[in-house]
Amino acid sequence: MGLRARVTVTFGLGALALSASMAALTYLTARQFILHQRETSVLGQAYVNASLVRSTLPGTSADKIPQLLDSLDTEGSSHSVVQSDGRWYAAFASSFFTENQIPAELRTLVQTGTPAQQHYQLNGHPELVVGIPVKGENIYYFEAFSLDEQARTLQILALVLSGAALVTTLAGATIGRWASGRLLRPLGDVSQAAETIAGGQLDTRLTATDDADLAPLADSFNRMADALQERIRREARFSSDVSHELRSPLTTLSTSLGVLQAHATDLSPRGRQALDLLAAELRRFQRMVGDLLEMSRVDTGSTDLSLDEVEVGELARQMVTAGGARGIRLTVDPAVSDLRLWVDKRRIDRVLTNLVDNAGQYAGGATGLSVEAGDPPGSRVRLIVSDRGPGVAPEERQQIFERFYRGQAAGQRGATEGTGLGLALVAEHVRLHGGTVWVEDGPDGENRFVIDLPAHRDGETDMPTSTRRP
């Protein structure tokens, strides 16, 4: 059970125990008080009636005794019987009430000369029967009083008290839930902030609080986030700085090399050979620094998408005429040709350049660029670069998009030309566009590098903000 549920149940049970015992105590006290009052008044009346019987009975003829007894019932809810000289008389009005309705033990007790009273049930109603032996005469007076009214009062009281206990219990549970919610809210904030940080938004912090109990938590959390961000920034900065520092010497190197190449005819064949080697390595070095810089920009998040809305068919045409897939055969599915994309063209250009380079290095060159429907067809579209194969082994299909991954193809011709970052950059750029990239087998054993991007019909959407880096 969760903390919140536990607190709620504890509060509820506490409230229940407290309110139930309060209710029970109240009920018992009230019951005792009410019954005591009734007994006092009943006894008073019984004695008055008994003395009335004592004074009037001796002169009353036997057939008048029921009327006499009738007149004694002043509140309409008591029944009297009297035994005089061994004979029983009952009131007219309540002729069903005879000596037989009086508990035998009470009767016997009274007949031995002891006044007594007893609670009992008469036809399912609570009654208090009082028996009074009249001194000196052979007269025993019995009167049964109804306790219905008191029972009803107590019933209502019990109902009200249970209701109150129930309400109190619910209120307790509610307060428990609310209080635990309040207590746990800072924890929720913390977990949400941690989640956001994990999602890449490193500058997320908890808002400072005045609460002395919570401030240390927020403080230490924020300090941790600061340290984490600083560390990540330092690491990302390092590779960025290294690449930056390499730029100027690289520019000098490549420019000087260009001058040398322009004067290559002045060199001996051996010198020219060395120069060619130098040129090839320098090109690769330059590409690597460029890729590292691009990667560090993605990592530090200092990268901005500059998005344009274009038709996918038009984008592909630009790519094969002037962009990264220059000169490659283009096939466009006419059904999706007019779908629109929000893209940073320079990045898509980089993606295609890298895929085409990759095809050139490992798979005999790119053979085609095609535009196909994605899934669902109206809102995803695919740009696919095919090559001559051989296909990528299934277990490597994920890994080739990792940085500096050197797989089975590492020994192949051309593998040394790569920077090890090309496909990783492809994956990053595609991800920034809200897309995915993977490689699959074509029908003739070739590779199909599939770039799957979100698309829309004309006028359907505004510029997405979600494709910006979080």
């Binding site: 730029r247 000098t252 490549s254 620094v289 920009r297 344009d308 809305e309 002037a322 962009g323 063209k345």
Partner: protein, 225 residues
């Protein structure tokens, strides 16, 4: 191809190697190691193209370009350290016509310099293009607004001519890049966007709410007469 190029670069290695490469291509090259020195040099002898590195001791490349712009419409190429929007746009807004990013290849740079130098309009065009209260004379290279001359850089002028020659027609960024910058350069709409912004501040009555040079979202720009 001949012409005079002023190289503003504090890294001696880059400066010397660039001078060698550009001289090989037939240019006369002047060198300056700082912005201040470059402005002095330029005052002594104007150049046909100026190449400015952003990172300079003293006044930086942006400021050098701005000060240069006050005295001349000479084509300027910025050398930026990063392709990030910030540096590129700041360079273009300081008045640069184009940019290259380090590390660059000398061939790439000379291609751009050639394109800048070649940009002399040769296609038949009417001698006067007018829209609103703006008057463009392609053959004279002048722009007048309310009869007062507006000073434009050559690139701005070329861009304006393209727009004014096709009133009401939407011109895509690619088309403008191709016609105005004139070399094979893929997809950097920022060059066009910043130049359009600069043009608007010069010829629009209210640059924030342009009436002549309109943006057609997702397509390009058009000139409304």
């Amino acid at each position: 191809m001949s012409g005079r190029i002023l190289l503003v670069e504090d890294d001696e290695g880059i400066r010397v190697s660039l001078r060698l490469a550009l001289e090989d291509e037939g240019y006369d090259v002047d060198e300056a190691g700082s912005g201040e020195q470059a402005l002095e040099r330029f005052a002594e002898q104007a150049a046909d193209v100026v190449l400015i590195d952003i990172m300079l001791p003293g006044i930086d490349g942006f400021e050098t370009c701005r000060q240069l712009r006050r005295v001349s419409a000479v084509p300027v190429v910025m050398v930026t350290a990063r392709t990030d929007t910030h540096d590129v746009v700041a360079g273009l807004e300081a008045g640069a016509d184009d940019y290259v990013t380090k590390p660059f290849v000398a061939k790439e740079l000379s291609a751009r310099i050639r394109a800048l130098l070649r940009r002399v309009r040769s296609v038949d065009q009417p001698s006067v293009l007018t829209f609103g209260r703006v008057e463009v004379r392609p053959d004279e290279g002048t722009v007048r607004r309310d009869s007062a001359e507006v000073h434009c850089t050559r690139t701005e002028f070329r861009l304006l001519c393209e727009l004014a020659a096709n009133p009401g027609k939407v011109l895509s960024r690619e088309l403008l890049l191709d016609r105005v910058w004139g070399y094979d350069y893929f997809g950097d709409g920022r060059l066009v966007d910043v130049h359009i912004r600069r043009l608007r501040t010069k010829i629009e009555p209210d640059p924030a709410n342009p009436r002549h040079i309109l943006t057609v979202r997702g397509m390009g720009y058009k000139l409304a007469v």
